[in-house]
């Protein structure tokens, strides 16, 4: 079964894999933004996660520890952002951009001497006979644990935001930090925790690129994935399951573009490369034109610094 020289089962299976980094980074950023913080440093945190994860995995020989190292590396970087924006009340947009620039440079420094090394392999999970089911075996049961974990994290974030008290408090802080403070919630502490969670997700996403997708280390390996993750959060209008859809859509376009190139298609790849961003712009226009429910979904305190006055 082939369409334009592309096998749909392989296409779907590989888009699920291709989407993992942006999916993890986007679900983390969603939590951060739901708490009212706009962290534009996702790209920087991802690449810090990519190099820290790579170094950890190479030295320990364990990919699982590599993902942990990636998360910790990105969290360390995000602490700089948390300190500047939550304690010193620096502008979030400027600080986030600086974080990306710093992360790109610093990862490059850390990565000296790691070029050309192969990291330990992350194997697919064994599903036995299930892998033999036509089409679905390839699509659903041929992946490594991170793919399944990323979907599970989306489900967990959705459930926590929707049903738990912690999620309610997080949303409340992002909605109106003044009101949350007046009720006695620790706005800064909650936001710092959200920033750390976002960084851990971005770091794991980055580590997935250097440990599984590529898998090796080169400078600037994330190649803009962090920016796509930021776009997905807006595209998804801050809803977890739509983040999953968005990540698969954007990941799918990346894979399709590679496959079309390989199949010698006549559609210039540049159109496909720009399509995620065009779709995001389109969604933004549609969202903001209708003043209804969709437009309301953005956290009301997004990007505003909180300072407890009298």
């Amino acid at each position: 079964m082939e369409l334009f020289g592309i096998n749909p089962a392989i296409l779907v299976a590989s888009l699920m894999v291709a989407a993992v980094p942006i999916l993890l980074a986007a679900i983390g950023e969603l939590v951060v933004e739901k708490a009212g913080v706009l962290n534009l440093g996702v790209e920087g945190m991802m690449i810090m996660g990519a190099i820290s994860g790579f170094i950890t995995a190479v030295h320990t020989g364990s990919p699982a520890l590599g993902f942990l190292g990636g998360a910790l590396g990105a969290m360390a970087l995000s602490l700089v952002f948390a300190l500047l924006t939550q304690v010193f009340l620096a502008n979030q947009v400027a600080t986030g951009l600086a974080l990306t620039l710093f992360g790109l440079g610093f990862s490059s420094l850390m990565g000296q001497g790691y070029n050309g090394i192969k990291p330990p392999r992350t194997p697919s999970l064994p599903f036995g006979p299930l892998e033999q089911i036509p089409f679905f075996g390839r699509v659903l049961f041929s992946h490594d644990w991170v793919v399944y974990a990323s979907v599970a994290i989306v489900a967990a974030v959705w459930a926590v935001l929707r049903y738990s008290r912690a999620g309610l408090i997080l949303r409340a802080v992002g909605e109106s930090h003044d009101a949350a403070h007046a009720l006695g919630y620790k706005v800064v502490r909650i936001r710092v925790l959200a920033i750390l969670f976002g960084a851990a997700m971005a770091g794991m996403g980055g580590a997935y690129i250097s440990l599984v997708r590529v898998p090796q280390w080169t400078d600037g390996i994330t190649a803009g994935a962090g920016w796509i993750a930021l776009a997905i959060v807006v595209f998804a209008s801050w809803k977890p399951w739509r983040v999953l859809v968005g990540a698969w859509l954007f990941g799918g376009i990346t894979v399709l573009q590679l496959n079309l190139q390989a199949a010698g298609s006549r559609i210039p790849v540049e159109y496909l490369s720009m399509s995620p961003y065009l779709i995001t712009i389109l969604v933004l226009v549609i969202m903001s034109s209708g003043r209804g429910r969709a437009g309301l979904n953005a956290p009301a305190s997004l990007g505003q610094n909180f300072h407890a006055s009298r």
Binding site: I169, R171, E175, A180, L183, L296, A300
Partner: protein, 520 residues
């Protein structure tokens, strides 16, 4: 005075003091609240009422003094501790989340909320038990101001409080809603809950409260039993001076200056109110008061008059000339100046100096920009004239607007518009959050402008203010404007009905109208 028997004292406050850099917010404050008592805390803006209740609610720690609750020492480190001790608070602003529903808002104010489904049932039960019906599933952003307040009250009641603190609860309510609220509060007091009621509306306090403590500049300056003293006596204790009602010259009205005909504008904000076929005219030398409960289209009306929202050319006319299609600067040129409600961020740019803020609005009429270059000496002189004429207390005109107190900034904003000598001036909530002395000054300035032949439109939620200065009154209700009626001979009952209230007036409010009439 009312509570000598210590057994009946719920909360005792002894010698509480709190300082901020440059300000002594509270100084040796001592008073007691009895069990089941409705106790009023009276004072002007800046008298230290808010700081005091924040200390009782655990949001701020006192520098000195101590409190005791039912005889036991009470020093809440955070609101959670205060709630655990049985102290609940209904805030004036900033404590509801518009994008969350009623049940979620209530849950956020509780320390150990039951599961959502049980909570929804409890909300229904309690809200109906106290005559404050609420639908737990509705978004708070879609509720009226009165319903939002119910959410806050129900949130407190679910925790079975011993002391309920209410900060300016009636500022957003219609007279009819006030009566419902008072009924609830009396029921609570009868059940043994003490209420600390903060307000500067004296007639309400006389109708509701058993005892009152009056604060001025952070100190207790008196206590009284509100039922036994007149509103004027309490006001004078509050201000520390005798108050003068604004004087007005009765002159002949000139020709029609401002005409608005069938003005319909969609609100730019999702939770706003669209205007529907608003029509009125104002003559030279006349003051038109537009009353209404917050969120009934006041902001949208001001935007349509200032030029922020544009309409058809002939919908808004100045001296017969259509200006509906023009922007704010062209309207200023035509002699129409406006001052919006929100001082910081709308009327004034918070981080810019007073000189720069004076330029932003005064550039056109005062000729402060020549060939694209700013005339800084002229602008400075204009800003200094505003500061001097309107007694704006500021270190200098180079100070950022943000650094001024609310009342002073309001004087600056209104002075800036009035000194441009517009033929028509439109103001929204000119004395909101301004102390009595400054409010009297602002009202007098508006009347003086009218006496010089300007047409004045005052949009206000303060009915007493409108009765005091307006010639004619119109009510804004859900974006529709009633036909203007002369203020002379208007009863509060009639006003309540015009504002959209349904039935049943409160005695105290009728009385307030009589007082207001007596003073004008």
């Amino acid at each position: 005075m009312t509570q000598d028997i210590s057994a009946d004292v719920l909360l005792a406050i002894e010698g509480i003091g709190k300082s901020y850099p440059g300000v002594r917010a509270n100084d040796d404050v001592t008073f007691r609240i009895g069990a089941g008592e409705v106790h009023a805390l009276l004072g002007e803006n800046g008298a230290g009422k808010s700081t005091l209740v924040k200390m009782i609610y655990g949001l701020v720690k006192p520098d000195e003094g101590h409190m005791s609750l039912r005889g036991a020492p009470y020093a809440p480190a955070e609101p959670r501790a205060a709630r655990a001790a049985g102290v609940a608070m209904v805030f004036q602003h900033f404590s509801l989340f518009e994008a969350l529903n009623v049940a979620e808002n209530v849950a956020l104010g509780m320390d150990d909320p039951p599961p959502m489904r049980d909570l929804e049932a409890r909300i229904r039960e309690v809200s109906e038990g106290y005559g404050l019906p609420l639908d737990p599933a509705r978004l708070v952003g879609d509720l009226s101001a009165g319903e939002r307040q119910r959410v806050e009250i129900v949130r407190c009641l679910l925790q079975d409080p011993k002391l309920l603190i209410m900060d300016e609860p009636t500022s957003v309510l219609t007279p009819q809603e006030v009566e419902i609220l008072f009924g609830t509060l009396r029921q609570l007091a009868a059940e043994g809950t003490s209420i600390l009621y903060i307000s500067h509306k004296l007639e309400e306090i006389r109708a509701l409260c058993d005892a009152a403590t009056i604060l001025r500049r952070g100190k207790v300056v008196g206590t009284c039993v509100p039922r036994e003293v007149s509103a004027r006596a309490m006001a004078e204790m509050m201000v520390g001076a005798s108050l003068n009602a604004p004087a007005r010259a009765t002159g002949e009205l000139g020709p029609v200056a401002l005409t608005v005909e069938r003005l319909s504008v969609a609100s730019p904000s999702a939770f706003g109110t669209s205007l529907k076929e608003v029509s009125f005219e104002v003559r030279q030398g006349e003051v038109l008061g537009i009353g209404g409960v917050a969120g009934n289209g006041q902001d949208e009306l001001l935007a349509a008059l200032s030029g922020e929202a544009r309409t058809g050319r002939d919908v808004v006319r100045v001296h017969g000339r259509g200006i509906g299609h023009l922007g704010p600067n062209e309207r200023r040129q035509a002699g129409l100046c406006t001052a919006p409600e929100e001082r910081l961020g709308h009327a004034a740019a918070p981080d810019m100096s007073l000189v720069e803020n004076a330029l932003l609005s005064g550039a056109v009429r005062k000729g402060l920009v020549r060939r694209g270059f700013i005339d800084w000496p002229g602008t400075r002189a204009f800003a200094e004239a505003v500061v001097k004429t309107f007694d704006v207390r500021t270190p200098g005109t180079g100070t950022a607007a943000r650094a001024l107190s609310g009342g002073n900034l309001q004087k600056f904003v209104l002075g800036r518009e009035i000194l441009q000598e517009p033929g028509i001036i439109v103001v929204n909530q000119p004395t909101w959050g301004v102390d009595a002395a400054a409010a009297a000054f602002i009202r007098q300035a508006l009347l003086d402008r009218a006496a010089k032949g300007a047409a004045v439109v005052v949009i206000s939620q303060d009915i007493d203010e409108i009765l005091e200065i307006a010639d004619r009154f119109a009510a804004l209700n859900e974006g529709r404007l009633s036909a203007p009626v002369p203020v002379a001979g208007l009863t509060l009952e009639r006003i309540g009905l015009m504002l959209g209230g349904a039935h049943g007036m409160h005695k105290a409010d009728v009385h307030a109208a009589e007082v207001a009439h007596a003073e004008t």
